[in-house]
């Protein structure tokens, strides 16, 4: 290759083999998506497709993609299609296929051939070695297609022939667990779709530098798809499980009200027709609001001191290490601090204000860290420009530096609120009230402010009362109190979904705030 490696400058957009390769990439993508859906139980591998069992359909398609990929490699090697392969597929691909084939060889040897003891290592090592040689030694077009296609053909045939059928299972000896087909089949299909998609994409790019680029692109997209799939799957799971509980007794335009939503507006008192979690929602909202009110002014203030006034040096380094350590402190430790230190100072009983302060202390380090980073990221040109106009340092910070840092500060608060809103341990130790509180016990913080003529002039008994909160109620329902409501499991999932929605709506508020200030700064 040292002599001449020039290719045509302009590629004809769609030749026949490129269409075929693109179709194979598409097929692999579809297989990957279907397998992902099966893994998340959105589709079932036992369902028949047009009269044929799903497993067999998947097997056939996987085999097809494997054969196609092998065909591409051969066609390229024999010069039937115009590609520019390099000398070898490279060491990374070789190591990956070695690992894949080592597992395949070992599993076939121990499970199918039934080799006992360490004998399974022999076929495993042999398969790995062959795969390594087959990937690294031949030219790139063979090296990156043959091992990939062979994986797909092996998987496809074992599915197609019913060797691994929908009733297949594999007891794992040492782990006291059994792998069933509804996990193994999607996993196998995903693996082979990943390698055939990669190999077909390389063919589409004509191997060489462009082929590697396209191959990596497809791999990355499939992995991102998997991550999104897990995320969406998780949320869908909670939504599907929680919706019946959340919407129990839900109705529009009934009883003269616009919306009747008993799960959100009722308590769990004896007389409530549909048991609800109103007190817990109110508790969570007040806890988060209080924690933000404690943490944001102190955190931002400390960040201003550290970023703008303190000399960067040993002291600021120590503070940085301390705040990082504080952020990674387990929440139960914060909870114990709250229980042992705050509760005796606030009426000697669990109270909202003790929980607010505890959660505020938990939130403080993250607000401090992110605000400090945001302040340090504000360009010095702004400070210089302001100083050259004769504006004092504090006015500069207030009018130029802080506004420019607001988006970063908001990001920190969003992340922190997401964490503290779902915290259970500190609430358990500092705030937690009854397991199934009635509506009347919801914390009426706004209505309980009382003025008095003597210090401290303002008091609020509601803040000094215990209260429920969503994560705490969920925890309590699971550990102790499943008997108090008619359909406890449905009720608990409803609480979980509500907690998710409350946290997501805090996120939404934060993201909208950040968006607003970013627009204002940059337009």
């Amino acid at each position: 290759m040292a002599t001449e490696s020039r290719n045509a400058l302009v590629r004809d957009e769609r030749t026949g083999y490129e269409r075929l390769a693109a179709a194979t990439v598409g097929l692999s993508g579809v297989l990957f998506a279907v397998a992902l859906a099966a893994l998340l139980e959105i589709v079932r591998i036992t369902d028949p497709v047009a009269g044929i069992p799903m497993v067999a359909v998947l097997g056939g398609l996987v085999t097809l993609s494997g054969v196609a990929v092998i065909g591409f490699g051969l066609a390229s090697r024999r010069g039937r299609i115009a590609t520019v392969p390099q000398e070898s597929a490279g060491i990374v691909a070789a190591v990956a296929f070695t690992g894949l084939w080592f597992c395949a060889g070992g599993l076939v040897a121990s499970q199918t051939l039934g080799l006992s003891g360490p004998l399974w290592l022999v076929p495993a090592v042999a398969a790995g070695a062959v795969a390594f040689a087959g990937t690294a030694l031949p030219r790139e077009d063979i090296g990156s297609t043959a091992p990939a296609g062979a994986v797909a053909v092996l998987v496809g045939l074992s599915l197609l022939t019913g060797f691994i059928g929908s009733n297949w299972s594999w007891p794992l000896g040492g782990f006291n667990a059994t792998l069933f087909a509804d996990v193994v089949v999607p996993f196998l299909v995903m693996t082979s779709a990943l390698v055939t998609g990669w190999a077909a994409a390389k063919t589409y790019g004509g191997y060489g530098a462009r082929g590697r680029h396209v191959g990596a692109y497809v791999l990355i997209y499939l992995v991102v798809l998997a991550i999104l799939g897990v995320l969406v799957g998780l949320i869908m799971f909670v939504v599907l499980k929680g919706a019946p509980g959340l919407f129990r007794g839900f109705g529009l335009l009934t009883d003269g009200a616009l919306v009747r939503w008993p799960f959100l507006t009722n308590g769990a008192g004896l007389l409530a027709d549909v048991k609800g979690i109103f007190p817990a929602i109110v508790g969570t909202v007040w806890l988060v609001v209080g924690a933000v009110l404690v943490a944001v002014p102190t955190g931002v203030g400390a960040a201003v001191f550290l970023a703008e006034y303190a000399e960067q040096g040993r002291f600021t380094q120590v503070v940085e290490v301390a705040t990082n350590g504080l952020w990674s402190t387990p929440s139960i430790v914060f909870g114990l601090f709250g229980a042992a230190f705050l509760i005796p100072r606030f009426g000697n009983q669990k109270s909202i204000i003790a929980g607010q302060l505890t959660l505020g202390f938990m939130l403080l380090p993250l607000v401090l860290i992110t605000s400090r980073e945001a302040l340090l990221a504000v360009p010095d040109e702004y400070r210089d420009a302001s100083a050259a106009l004769g504006v004092s340092k504090w006015q500069t910070i207030r009018s130029v530096v802080l506004p420019a840092a607001i988006p970063g500060v908001t990001t920190g608060v969003i992340l922190g609120v997401g964490r503290i809103a779902g915290e259970t341990a500190p609430i358990l130790l500092t705030t937690g009230g009854g397991v199934l509180p009635a509506k009347g016990s919801a914390a009426a913080v706004l209505g309980s402010f009382q003025l008095s003529a003597s210090p401290p002039f303002v008091s609020n008994p509601a803040l000094l009362d215990a209260s429920s909160a969503l994560p705490y109620q969920l925890f309590a329902l699971i550990t102790a109190g499943l008997g108090g409501v008619p359909n406890p499991e449905q009720f608990a999932w409803g609480v979980a979904l509500t907690l998710l929605l409350v946290v997501l709506s805090f996120y939404a508020i934060g993201i909208a705030t950040r968006y607003y200030f970013r627009r204002k700064l940059h337009q």
Binding site: E311, P379, E381, Y382, D384, A385, S386, A387, A388, L389, G390, V391, S392, Q395, S399, V400, P403, A404, K520, L521, H522, Q523
Partner: protein, 305 residues
């Protein structure tokens, strides 16, 4: 370098025996006092005497003395690292913002030493404004950028409190914004979008906005640190025209590494050469046509630097 070795006395000689080095041929130190002794007809706005600046161990500026006449353009030229920007930043005490910097000597603004104890930095920087190399508008609207200084100094009062107490200066502010933008030759380009973010302007417009922002505070002296070096030729020529126009009412001091620019816009030119020394200071014409120092002649004719 084409100049003979004898014109660059070695380091040891110079520091041991300041100003009295006698090497064959031209001695920088001997002539220096004479070359920098520039006399002019008008009044002097800024008068610098024996200015020394150290950054830690680094001796950045060595005994610079010069008088800057009012209502004129003074150009400071020289190769990189010669101390011309350091000198400029001493004139409004921006070097105070650098912790390691130590400044000795006097800088008199209308006869008052700005490095004396008890000098009000706010007042000093109101009177001696500064424009930086890279345009640095705040991420605010054009109007807010211009009104920023006057608002912070309490010269115009706006906002809720001002409206409630009936002392709202919105109209004055409006006039000030228009006047400053007109002075900076930017008004016609931005008058319809004063509430747009200043970061949406082009680089040249941003730099003129920065000049307008500086003018809005009502300075007497405007310091410019290579104000056009980040701009394209068209924007540069606009800035140059602006500088010449500003010299009618303001004392302008411009640092530039572009000798043609200095020749075009300035009335007098000070040449700094490596080592933080002011070598020659005279009418721009004299500096570029017939400088007294051989090194300055080499520099302005492009033989080094």
């Amino acid at each position: 370098m084409s100049q003979p070795d004898t014109t660059t006395p070695n380091e040891g000689n110079r520091t041991d025996d300041r100003g009295l080095t006698t090497t064959a041929g031209e001695s920088r130190e001997e002539g220096r006092a004479e070359w920098t002794d520039y006399s002019f007809a008008g009044a002097s706005k800024l008068s610098v005497e024996d200015l020394e600046v150290h950054y830690g161990d680094d001796h950045a500026l060595k005994g610079v003395s010069m008088d800057i006449p009012e209502e004129s353009v003074t150009a400071l030229i020289g190769p990189s690292g010669c101390g011309k920007s350091t000198f400029l930043r001493c004139l409004n005490r921006m070097n105070d913002r650098i912790r390691a910097a130590r400044v000795d000597g006097t800088v008199e603004l209308d006869g008052e030493d700005v490095y004396r104890d008890g000098v009000d930095l706010v007042e000093l920087r109101k009177r001696v404004g500064m424009v930086f190399q890279a345009p640095n508008p705040f991420p605010k609207s054009i109007r807010e950028n211009i009104a920023y200084g006057p608002r912070k100094h309490g010269d115009v009062r706006t906002g809720l409190l001002a409206r409630l107490t009936g002392r709202d200066d919105s109209e004055e502010e409006e006039q000030l914004v228009e006047q400053s933008l007109r002075q900076a030759a930017l008004w016609d380009e931005v008058k319809d979008r004063l509430d747009d973010n200043a970061l949406g302007l082009s680089g040249g417009q941003q730099q003129r906005l920065c000049i307008a922002r500086c003018l809005a505070v009502g300075p007497e002296v405007i310091l410019m640190d290579e104000p056009a070096s980040a701009l394209d030729p068209v924007a540069t020529s606009k800035i140059e025209d602006l500088i010449e126009a500003l010299a009618q009412d303001y004392t302008v001091v411009v640092v530039t590494h572009n000798m043609q620019q200095a020749a075009r816009i300035s009335d007098q030119t000070a040449v700094f050469l490596t080592g933080g020394e002011l070598v020659e200071y005279d009418d721009t014409e004299t500096i570029f046509e017939d400088p007294e120092s051989q090194r300055v002649e080499d520099y302005v004719s492009g033989k080094f630097g």
